[in-house]
């Protein structure tokens, strides 16, 4: 059943996220856990549902197992629909060729069939690696009001950081006259958020043209947007002012996690008018023991806490032993932290065991960087992992050879 939809959403979720190191060794970046019980992709998916968009194609490619399983039939986001809903779109084989997705534009090009089944007037293109709460409906209204061919969401960034982004130079009414990818001398501070709305016919036209061009890198930012600008299409920048964070690095992911803490957090997850949905299982309630101390932290179900937790984010099913101390850290699902272990300024990935008395990282003020411990590892007792290290199985084997020093 394919009812006509006003707008179809294409969510690019194939990103590897190589700057997240071991966090994305086994999962795609959009499936990286966030904020105690979410994954990054919960944000764009929840935004879609809260904005009233119910047809979302999720384009997966890199390490799709966890992501596919997580999205499933889309039920946690109310996207298990008879018409539309969440549909996972992996690369596929055709009669004459088989291809991976070669760039963002190519990924959408390969799924033009999916888009056209719903005969939409507009296509919203999102990426699955940002943390933000945004009403896409308002952006679509803006797009319609301007009678635009393409609208790009932009956010004001500090001038000194502008050269890390794609920058839109606009006229007063928001019309884009120039686009510069990572400019050395930025003329404006309007950074592209990687959120585009296209008229469907225009999008299909340009994707086909881009596909026919052998020199193209098949990328929206590098090829499609410049081509549309050069052809004089009507392109507008839609200014967004809320919370938005590119969580492409360990540092920025850590910061975004910390942004959920505090009494008036910059990223409010308790807002009942704009809920962030996630797939969760039924864990028992958290048990907080007699000697536990919890300050400025968020803790999820299934945890058992006997130690001290400060300025930290604890995912479900984490065990914190007696006398253990956790500060300024993000501890993911199912991690066990033994008695008297201490963890500072670190990420500990899922199901890792930190044995009794071991020491991870260093106080945030003194630390050289964030320490990252991969998933399913065992950090032997009395080991000390220095600040800023990225720990995986090879690191542990090496450490064992050296006798733990």
């Amino acid at each position: 059943m394919f009812n006509k939809k006003e707008c179809v959403v294409m969510l690019l979720a194939g990103g590897q996220g190589s700057r997240l190191y071991t966090l994305t060794e086994k999962t795609a970046k959009p499936a990286v856990p966030f904020g105690g019980k979410y994954r990054i992709i919960d944000f764009p998916l929840s935004n879609c549902v809260n904005s009233g968009f119910d047809t979302v194609g999720v384009l997966t490619q890199y390490q799709p197992l966890v992501l596919n399983e997580y999205i499933g039939n889309g039920q946690p986001w109310d996207l298990d629909r008879a018409s539309g809903g969440a549909v996972v779109l992996p690369p596929y084989q055709r009669s004459k060729s088989a291809d991976w997705y070669r760039g963002t534009a190519n990924a959408i090009y390969q799924n033009i069939n999916f888009i056209e089944r719903y005969d939409p007037d507009y296509v919203l293109v999102l990426s699955g690696d940002h943390i933000y709460k945004m009403n896409y409906r308002l952006m679509l209204d803006f797009h319609k009001e301007k009678n635009a061919d393409c609208t790009i969401a932009v956010i004001d960034v500090p001038l000194e950081e502008a050269s890390r982004f794609g920058i839109m130079n606009t006229r007063e009414d928001g019309e884009i006259y120039e686009f510069e990818e990572k400019p050395k001398r930025p003329k404006s501070t309007k950074a592209s958020m990687g959120i585009y709305i296209f008229g469907r016919k225009k999008l299909v036209e340009y994707l086909k043209a881009d596909e026919a061009d052998p020199s193209s890198a098949k990328d929206f930012g590098k090829n499609v947007i410049p081509a549309m600008l050069a052809a004089g299409e009507k392109m507008y920048a839609y200014e967004f002012t809320g919370y938005w964070k590119d969580v492409g690095t360990i540092k920025s992911l850590w910061e975004a996690n910390m942004d959920t803490l505090g009494e008036h957090p910059v990223l409010d997850l308790y807002d009942r008018d704009w809920r962030i949905y996630s797939r969760t299982q039924a864990n028992p309630p958290q048990f907080i023991g007699e000697d536990a101390k919890l300050t400025n932290s968020v803790v999820s179900e299934g945890c058992e806490i006997h130690g001290t937790v400060e300025n930290s984010v604890l995912f479900g099913g984490v065990y914190v032993g007696h006398g253990a101390m956790i500060r300024d850290s993000v501890i993911m699902n199912g991690v066990r932290i033994g008695d008297k272990a201490s963890i500072d300024y670190s990420f500990i990935d899922e199901d890792t065991v930190i044995e009794k008395g071991s020491r991870i990282g260093d106080e945030k003020e003194k630390a050289a960087g964030i320490t990252l411990i991969g998933s399913d590892l065992t950090i032997k007792k009395e080991y000390s992992i220095p600040t800023g290290d990225m720990v995986n199985q090879a690191y542990i084997d090496d450490l064992a050879k050296k006798g733990g020093k």
């Binding site: 904020g35 105690g36 019980k37 039920q75 946690p76 803490l261 505090g262 009494e263 997850l269 308790y270 809920r275 962030i276 949905y277 996630s278 969760t280 299982q281 039924a282 028992p284 309630p285 958290q286 048990f287 907080i288 023991g289 007699e290 000697d291 536990a292 101390k293 919890l294 300050t295 400025n296 932290s297 968020v298 803790v299 999820s300 179900e301 937790v309 984010v313 604890l314």
Partner: protein, 376 residues
């Protein structure tokens, strides 16, 4: 071998009138995030029973809301799954009244029972909570060749007046010999009925026909007790954790036992092989602010805690204000406490609002209960 389940959702509502005024016994909240029916349902699902009927009586809106399609127990199925049986006013239930006993409840849903094609039926109440491996119980039942097997828990008493419980007597081979209801001076080892039983489907149908012909009114005291000797009735000795909730005091104490008794807590709600499943909500994790002090408590997700919480059970979405002290209390979903509130031995029902500076205290033998939506 196929097994179906039947759950009685409100046989003993009158035992806790406060909590069941607007809900069934089955949907009484328990242990931060559960409803009592979650134990009966999870026991079945964890043992591979995926065709489950829930018999309702009155006030079952909250139960419908909790169960939904049954998907959270993996019971939203095309074949089998969860079926809610709303009450029938039938000739068996005495004129215009709804059923008053387990037997009348079964008479009322006889047409649904006729459609059960499984070989065995497990029947369970909601006010006796346990985490039981029903697969083992069903296997033992089949091996023994019995018509019906009653789950029992051996417990030692010294001159206690037992309430809301059947004491089952059996010989050394496990054959039921007698049944006593609420004995006044229980002393020594007594086998308490779990109100969990396995019965052969065809024989249940003929037992019900026979009971109807004799005008019986109680399943245990008439159908089972009067037929001892005529049929093989066995006991199954369960040695896990078990509580029977028959009064407000028991309800309160059972929650508190989760805090003081680690074995009870872990076996009841922390067994990874037999997890207690419940309706999954969408709450953010719980946030502990700078001034929070929390000791020996169970806390659900979605809470914001700025004050002190000791020996308490805190449900989803509860807000504890700055300077507030909550001790030995049970706060249901979305209870809001302002600043500098003091609560001791208090049970607040859903959406209660305690304003700044209020001080309330009950006693562990008589917890102070605040109704749903009350403003103090």
């Amino acid at each position: 071998m196929t097994v179906s389940g039947i759950i009685f959702s409100n046989l003993h509502d009158k035992n806790i009138p406060e909590l069941t005024r607007q809900r069934t016994m089955a949907s009484v909240p328990f242990a931060c995030r559960y409803r009592l029916i979650d134990f009966a349902l999870s026991n079945m699902v964890n043992s591979g029973i995926t065709d489950v009927r829930v018999i309702t009586h009155n006030n079952y809106r909250s139960l419908m809301d909790h169960l939904g399609s049954g998907k959270d127990w993996d019971l939203a199925r095309r074949s089998g799954g969860l079926k809610i049986l709303p009450p029938f006013v039938s000739s068996y239930s005495g004129g215009e009244n709804l059923y008053r006993s387990r037997l009348e409840a079964l008479f009322g849903v006889i047409s649904s029972i006729q459609h059960i094609h499984s070989d065995y039926i497990v029947m369970s109440d909601c006010d006796s909570i346990c985490n039981i491996d029903l697969k083992d119980m069903v296997n033992k039942h089949i091996e023994s060749g019995a018509t019906l097997t009653l789950g029992v828990k051996d417990t030692v008493f010294e001159d206690r007046h037992l309430k809301n419980v059947n004491v089952i007597y059996a010989d050394k081979d496990g054959n039921v010999t007698d049944i006593e209801r609420d004995p006044r001076h229980a002393t020594g080892v007594k086998s308490l009925g779990l109100n969990v039983m396995v019965v052969n489907t065809n024989e249940l149908k003929s037992l019900l026909n026979d009971a109807s012909a004799h005008g019986y009114s109680s399943f245990i005291n008439d159908v089972v007790r009067r037929n001892v000797g005529k049929y093989v009735f066995k006991v199954y000795r369960y040695d896990g954790v078990f509580r029977n909730i028959y009064s407000m005091k028991e309800y309160y104490d059972c929650n508190m036992q989760l805090l003081r008794d680690e074995r009870f807590r872990k076996e009841l709600i922390g067994n990874p092989l037999r997890p207690i499943l419940t309706k999954v909500h969408n709450s953010a994790p719980t946030k502990y602010s700078d001034g929070a002090v929390v000791k020996n408590s169970l806390i659900a997700d979605g809470c914001i805690i700025k004050g002190t919480v000791e020996n308490s059970i805190i449900f989803r979405g509860v807000k504890i204000g700055r300077g507030t002290v909550v001790k030995n209390s049970i706060l249901f979903q979305d209870t809001y406490t302002g600043e500098n509130v003091f609560l001791n031995c208090v049970i607040t029902d859903k959406d209660a609002l305690i304003q700044d500076g209020r001080m309330l205290s009950g006693h562990e033998t008589l917890p102070f209960y605040i109704e749903k939506g009350q403003i103090v």
